[in-house]
Amino acid sequence: MTGADGDTGAPPRPVPSPRRPSDPPPRPSDPDSWRGIATDPDADRSRAEDSDPTAVARLRARSRVLLRNLLRPHRWRLAAAVALLLSQNAAGMAGPYLVMLGIDRAIAPLRAGNPGPLVGIAAAFAVAAAVEYAARRGFLVLSARIGQAVLLDLRQRVYGKFLRLSVAFHERYTSGRMVSRLTSDLDSIGELAGGGIDSLVLAALSILSVAVILLWLDPPLAAVTLLAFPLLYWLSRWFARASAAAYRRTRETIALVIVHVVESMRGIRAVQAFRREPRNQRIFAAVSDDYRRASLRAFRLIATYSPGIKVIGNVTVAVVLCYGGWRVLDGHTEIGVLAAFLLYLRRFFEPMQELSQFYNSLQSATAALEKLAGVLDERPAVPEPARPVPLPAGRAPGAVTFRSVTFGYRPDAPILTGLDLDIPAGQTVALIGPTGAGKSTIAKLLARFHDPVAGEVLLDGVDVRDVADAELRRALVLVTQETHLFGGTVAENIRFGRPDADDAAVQAAARAIGAHDFIAALPEGYATQVQRRGGRLSAGQRQLVAFARAFLADPAVLILDEATSSLDVPTERAVQHALGTILRDRTALVIAHRLSTVEIADRVVVLEAGRIVEDGPPAELVAADGRYAALHRQWRDSLV
């Protein structure tokens, strides 16, 4: 399996491979191909994840490094936990021993009227019980703390990484998968952190000590016992391989379930309006069934592995019984030794069961950790500069230059080729052109959502790739027609533009942009919760809030990409009125399909197929009878 659909795992489905001219086009109406073919073969995963064996091994190694890395700060606490565990165990072991001592040593004196030994043993027993209680409690608290601290660390690291990764990464990775990594994958690591360390330590301890005792008791019998080891090793190796693959699949399939749920809940209006429910339910059933089968496979592996260990243990017991009995018959060993040997043998194999359980949780957690390691390993396509170059001192005047910039979202389809554009500080430029001409791409390159393939974008003479992110964002803000409001109040959303702004500044921004009236009319004014995705605010109101946010941010360069598309005419006019004031002393790049926005521009740049075809003050262009003049006429005619 190559690429994109490799992990959907539904019933056999044509494997997508790069289409050659001779290939028949895939039938879009095929009911099983609903996911479609991603343009990026790595759409469903981080770059580090791949299906070839070396990539798998590399990722596994990386996840181990990550685990060590996460545990290192806690190594002393871990040591303390192990010490507590050992003392708990020692105190626990003391119990039966004291009972034996009590029966052997205390009853006779008691009969003789001397309660001393019994009292002493009872006291020792109480002490042992108290130590066991304290050590157990301490161990469990400590291990919970370590586990939770590791989880917290990992969660924050992964989240921080997602924040740093480029827009392009998120566009292919999808939000559902990001949610899956930060919830479901972390949950399965949490399960390991929740318990299991004690079983690992105790089991290892008891297996080691029993092995020593066995060797000491009767070396030939012990040698027979040790014959079980190659079998155990072989079985565990098989399980490790099979379960790693199985758990990897559960991670991938649950991610698809989550992606589907997230998207259908988010688009619930479209789902219901278009009666999509039955089809969605079928798709959900399919992805959910994939997940079910993947989990089933993983569970069945452990369902085989664990009794497999049992079989090896029980067969060994029977063999030792037979061989040991024969040795006793031959007089090579004592009957008591055989009895003791058999008793210890049980203690030898019982912890193996617990170890197998732990191993299982470990495999599941490792699969999740691999996914997270893959994300952490992803190199940001738009990296922070290692040695940032500061913008010229003071508030940046905001001169923007595109120098022979080439860019395309796909290598084979360039949007811009060798674009040159020089915007002096303080100028307001309107970008005009048909859909697909590259207007938004220019905006995104300037806002450094993407980096150009060739050429450079300069802000005040500094390549934006060399500007520290915080400084770049202070100097330059992009407002698009997608206006996202975060959970919280209206005021908080406006303050997003400048977190240290006080209420008065927030209100002033809203007033300036003409949003104050509607905000004041909301049930709780500025303290109104905008709720999920701006639930109750209309698209136009959200655009106003977004505008107020940009206004508050007060950047030297403002990029407006269709930022007024949902406003009614008077509101748009009010916004433009405000813009006329605020853009006077700053650079602005305005993209609008509607030429109404152009009136505030000093200069119009007409783009076509990624090239500048006309450039000049609007009045001149109208007079020049070129493309802009034609567009202008057409637009004017569209006004009734």
Partner: protein
């Protein structure tokens, strides 16, 4: 912080904490026989496990002592058989357990998903999506784990405990009853723990939902975050949520640690008391040493079931609160459903007369109504443009037609049928919708177009795409099979809008409801879409939200929406001439010249031209 989630506050007071878990029992029913077999296999495996050392004991005491090689082989063979039987029984138990547990989990998940799809948008507006998601993933696996493993071991441990205690009482009544009495503190500890853990586990699950919500919101607002460079602020906000989760996790760990240690202490102390009392009894000659040894070794078998109790109770409480959370969703009745005698209308029988009669609407929980006693008639085949200021309720009005929201008062009729008397599926088939924000799913273009009509033919799709001027879809790298990103991110705003328009007109709906369908199009494309749309609208009843004259040009009449009412209806030119409010909204002439404009000053009349 998006702490608000009204759905979470459904009180579960007065109910037994396990009530909701118990209500999920019917998901276990298909596996009832399997579960019974599981128990049998589990008990049998335990018995076989106990038998193996007994056989070993026999070997040592019998054939070896008696120098009988034949007996040795026979008994060793028996031990082998018992050992294999034990492993086989465990294998069967685990094998069966795995299929029933994941099957059950998948069944609940499918039901929750189906229910979520039935719940109206108002529910989804109110509930954080992360909370819904964590219910469908984390909570369900918690329930699965308990029902498959926890419940089984709970029963197994209880049975073991009871059997051992009965044996102890038979061995020595007084000491046995003493051991039996130790169940009282165990029970009290367990109950106190269960109550405290219930609260903590619920808190943890809610916080997990909050974190999921934060993550999803971050993914949604990623561009905004990047544009303002607010990564550090979001990271701080996330750290708060993650820290809360961490603290709750540590708190849960503390609870479990204290209880687990206490549960361990009880059998230990009992053992000590038994030792002292037993020794005294033996000294008095009431008990033989052999009996005391037997008693104590049997009593040691109680340690493991008691030790496991803490974890089992914890798992049970987590499953109980997870079941509460799942039930909160399943118990929310869908507000918009078919009436008992709802009818289906055939497309051919629909003329398309859409009438709003005294329609009022208020969002649940909101004070002020959005729409108030609104009247509007759209004649068959007519196109009415809906004009109003930002936030006047235009989109809300549109959402009432496919019944995404339900009118609070009054009614909407289609050809005289109250919409509520129509089957939802039928109504939504008759009404084609294009929303303000074109929602695209990360699926193929084809799937996005045929959302609810998987039966659509290729010609139909081609026609719809042509009408919306969206033929670009064929030029995508894989044609209509190309996966468009979530929200169609790899497409421009205009392309997305045209796909959404194509989706709305696909299948020739009787009524078209379009929310500012041309807003993101450039002038040239707009003109072409307008021309082709006009052909469709000639025969289709349509309600179109419009902000600009270019869109209004599609309409036969215009309705002005002000303060929740339609205040004027008529032709564009008439309204422009007679209704000042309308003129204010749409006039090409600004009321006053905005100061500070720098462009167009030199072009005579140019300013007037570049306004809409």
């Amino acid at each position: 912080m998006p702490a608000e989630c009204e759905g979470d506050s459904i009180p579960a007071t007065g109910r037994h904490p396990l009530h909701n878990l118990w209500r999920l029992r019917h998901y276990l029913r298909p596996y009832a026989t399997e579960f019974a077999w599981l128990l049998v296999a589990g008990l049998a495996a335990t018995a076989a496990g106990i038998a193996v050392p007994l056989v070993a004991q026999r070997v040592v005491d019998g054939p070896v002592a008696r120098q009988d090689p034949g007996g040795l082989v026979r008994l060793a063979g028996l031990a082998l058989l018992l050992g294999l039987a034990e492993a086989l029984l465990i294998f069967i138990r685990r094998w069966v357990q795995s299929s029933s547990s994941v099957g059950m989990e998948a069944a609940i998940r499918a039901d929750v998903y189906a229910h979520l799809q039935r719940l109206p948008p108002s529910f989804h507006d109110r509930w954080q999506s992360g909370q819904l998601l964590s219910r469908i993933t984390t909570d369900l696996s918690v329930i699965r784990r308990f029902l498959s493993f926890g419940l089984f071991f709970l029963i197994l441990n209880l049975v073991t405990y009871v059997v051992v205690v009965v044996l102890l009482i038979r061995l020595h009544a007084v000491l046995g009853l003493l051991v039996a009495a130790s169940a009282v503190p165990l029970f009290r500890i367990a109950r106190r723990f269960a109550q405290a853990y219930h609260t903590a586990s619920r808190r943890m699950q809610d916080q997990q939902g909050d974190v999921a919500t934060l993550v999803e919101e971050t993914a949604q607002g990623l561009r905004t975050m990047k544009a303002y460079g607010r990564g550090p602020e979001l990271a701080a906000r996330f750290a708060e949520g993650a820290r809360a989760l961490h603290d709750t996790g540590v708190g849960k760990g503390r609870l479990l640690a204290a209880t687990s240690a206490r549960l361990d202490l009880v059998p230990n102390l009992t053992l000590g008391v038994v030792l002292v009392a037993g020794a005294a009894a033996t000294a008095n000659g009431v008990l033989t040493i052999g009996e005391l040894v037997a008693f104590v070794s049997l009593q040691l078998m109680l340690v493991w079931p008691v030790q496991g109790l803490g974890w089992i109770i914890a798992g049970g409480q987590e499953a109980a609160t997870a079941a509460d959370r799942v039930r909160e969703v399943l118990d929310t009745p869908p507000a918009i459903v078919d009436r008992p005698h709802a009818v289906a209308l055939a497309r051919a029988d629909v003329r398309g007369r859409l009438v709003f009669e005294g329609v009022s609407f208020r969002y649940p929980g909101a004070q002020a109504p959005v729409l108030q006693a609104l009247d509007l008639t759209v004649e068959p085949g007519e196109t009415v443009a809906l004009v109003g200021a930002t936030g006047s309720g235009k989109s809300t009005l549109l959402s009432l037609v496919p019944r995404l929201h339900e009118v609070s008062e009054g009614r909407i009729t289609l050809d005289g049928h109250d919409l509520r008397d129509l089957r939802l599926a039928s109504l939504r088939r008759l009404v084609g919708v294009a929303f303000e924000e074109p929602t695209l799913f990360s699926m193929s273009v084809w799937e996005n177009l045929t959302l609810g009509r998987p039966d659509a033919g290729e010609e139909e799709v081609r026609a719809a795409l042509a009408l919306a001027q969206a033929d670009f879809a064929y030029d995508l790298p894989w044609g209509l099979t190309t996966r468009v990103g979530e929200q169609g991110l790899s497409l421009s705003g205009g392309q997305r809008q045209r796909l959404a328009l194509a989706r709305a007109v696909l299948g020739r709906p009787a009524v078209l409801v379009l929310d500012d369908p041309l807003s993101a199009l450039d002038v040239h494309t707009e003109a072409m879409v307008e021309a082709s749309l006009r052909r469709v609208l000639r025969t289709t009843t349509a309600l179109v939200v419009a902000h600009r004259p270019s869109t209004i040009a599609l309409a036969d009449r215009v309705a002005l929406l002000e303060a929740g009412r339609i205040t004027a209806v008529g032709r564009h030119s008439t309204l422009l001439a007679t209704v000042p409010a309308y003129r204010a909204l749409l006039s090409a002439e600004p009321p006053a010249r905005p100061p500070g404009t720098t462009a167009g000053d030199s072009a005579p009349g140019g300013r007037g031209l570049v306004r809409s």
